[in-house]
Symmetry: C3
Subunit: 258 residues, 3 copies
């Protein structure tokens, strides 16, 4: 899949938050994809239809942007393009709770969130504070399975050890770095990378999500080796993403089927 | 205070400008806080009420965002949460001058600005150009004292040597680096960090402002030691922020009471 | 021109996209200019009139921002200030195609784009995908000359070897680095730097564009020498921009008149 991504350089349409825009675009470029940030209602639908995949992130939501997300998502569905939902802190306010329910009803191909977000999305009680998870991934696994089955989607929960399920199959992915939560918007960027892998493998979104998470985990582990803090980790992480190829990803990924 | 910040990891609600969003979030994470950027009128008030502190920055202002700032500020006041105002280039246009007067009337707990901004805010004649100060901090000290007394607030003026006053007490803070003005939005990020310290010390905002400025000054000095320019300074600065603990902050801070 | 830029530190009013805002501001600061991002219709015109130059980039366009761009551009023209247009992916949607035609009619002093953008702007058939060019610069040279003559403007096409023309004079600029397309928004940042040089040399925009492109090419080449990937390239590039002076720019620039 990574070789396909590098060869095809798929156009990934990202409607993400203001904090994530720059780092997410750099993550996609380092991985080999072609990112485009297009949010206006006037063009988001038209743009989604010419893209390989769409990613939606509600981090810095507003009513204007919600209109663009709606237009893009509907168009992606009509064009048969995969789309990924990142329900940032959806439990925090009424505005967010409503938005995420509407987006869920538009049938995301994949949902990527932290443990608190996934637990709350499945109807459980989470300990999340603002945009940060305060629940371990293991506690979100049952919620993720439930959400995947009821919504007929793939759910990826990221944290110390990641978890991916389509309701039937499931696996854990080890790796990454303890610096990752201290670099803002890496989770949001991962959502965009999941979109890039879905663009080159639209028929098996479970595999696409696993591949993207594995690539992040391997790059995180490699970047940590020489990092002295979150600042030096961030640029080393981009260097590692760019340096990974199909062989090193296969060799270093620690994917544990359940 | 820094130990409290690291232990409590306070949720800091930031409504800041598009240039600052990413670096401000990274600064807060490196220092130990939990940043969240939430600006929409539909949820800014609700979010401010669940946060430890609020910071407002008018750098890339628009009428939409002004509505969110108003909602958040009113809610922070009602919930008894401290809030920090960063009046970026408020003297530059009529739109900004009106906005800052309205925000001032909502009684910020702390104001953080450069010398030109503080002089103009106190009614003086500044030499500011765009977002850059062209006045030395020393020339803003009288303006800062006046502003603090008339508005019953804490005023922090940052530059080569910083100055903080609540109208009665005052001190200068030395340190930092000559690279800091060449990294965009570090001042805006400092405003957010002031909010983080205010969240863990809401009753003594003067001390909170001093602590945040001292942490920035120490991290700046340490980052400069190995930097070759503004690019390498920026990531070293984040590494330094993350590495500072209560002891090294106390040992290295140069706070001069007046 | 670079010495004038460092001495005058011109105020450059940038209305650019959300992805580019931070890196563009850092590029301008490293080069010696004073960037300001001001987009709201309520103040964009007033701000353009007090700035040395204006730059307009449609990367993350919306109707609201289009109103600010219109106000700023009209005011820049009335005040006799140079302004630079960056027509990001203008061929991708109807919304963008309309916006760019309206902006073209407002007579930009300089247009900076990639080959696909310039070919499409001159009425040709481009291979562009999203925001990425898929045409070599050489294939855009005739389009650039045509566009410069018919629109009475300077056109700068950037890629492996850059090309600048005012319809009569033309030159190529060699240098740069193969990492540059893998760092997001460097092209957008270059547009802002073109604005900075135009601010200190408003009467000869051809020379201003050539100088900005040459400075980017030299800094790119120097940054590549020690970079291991796009992450380390990005901060080294800022260090290089800040370290270049008039002498080293003259010595290392490879400008080939045609």
């Amino acid at each position: 899949m990574l070789q396909a991504l590098r060869t095809q350089k798929p156009l990934v349409h990202c409607i993400t938050n203001f904090v994530a825009m720059n780092i997410a675009a750099n993550v996609l470029l380092a991985a080999g994809a072609s990112p485009a940030m297009v949010h206006a209602e006037e063009e988001a639908g038209e743009f989604a239809a010419i893209s390989g995949a769409l990613t939606i992130n509600i981090g810095t939501l507003s009513s204007d942007w919600m209109r663009g997300m709606r237009a893009a998502t509907v168009a992606a569905n009509e064009a048969g393009r995969p789309w990924v939902l990142d329900p940032v802190a959806h439990y925090a306010t009424g505005f967010r709770r409503e938005a995420v329910q509407e987006l869920l009803a538009l049938r995301p191909t994949i949902i990527r969130g932290n443990a608190s977000e996934i637990i709350a999305l499945a109807g459980g009680v989470s300990q999340g504070q603002g945009v940060d998870s305060r629940d371990p991934v293991e506690q979100a696994e049952a919620s993720a399975r439930l959400l995947a089955r009821t919504r007929k989607t793939v759910v990826a929960v990221t944290g110390v050890v990641d978890f991916v399920t389509n309701g039937e199959r499931a696996c854990r992915i080890e790796g990454g770095s303890s610096w990752m939560p201290d670099v803002t918007a890496l989770g949001c960027s991962l959502t965009c990378l999941v979109g890039a892998f879905a663009a080159v493998n639209p028929d098996v979104p479970f595999d696409a999500a696993v591949a993207a998470l594995a690539m992040f985990a391997v790059a995180g582990e490699q970047a940590e080796a020489n990092a002295d803090g979150p600042g030096s980790f961030a640029w080393r992480f981009l260097d590692s993403l760019a340096a990974i190829d199909g062989n090193s990803l296969s060799k270093n990924a620690r994917i544990l089927p359940l």
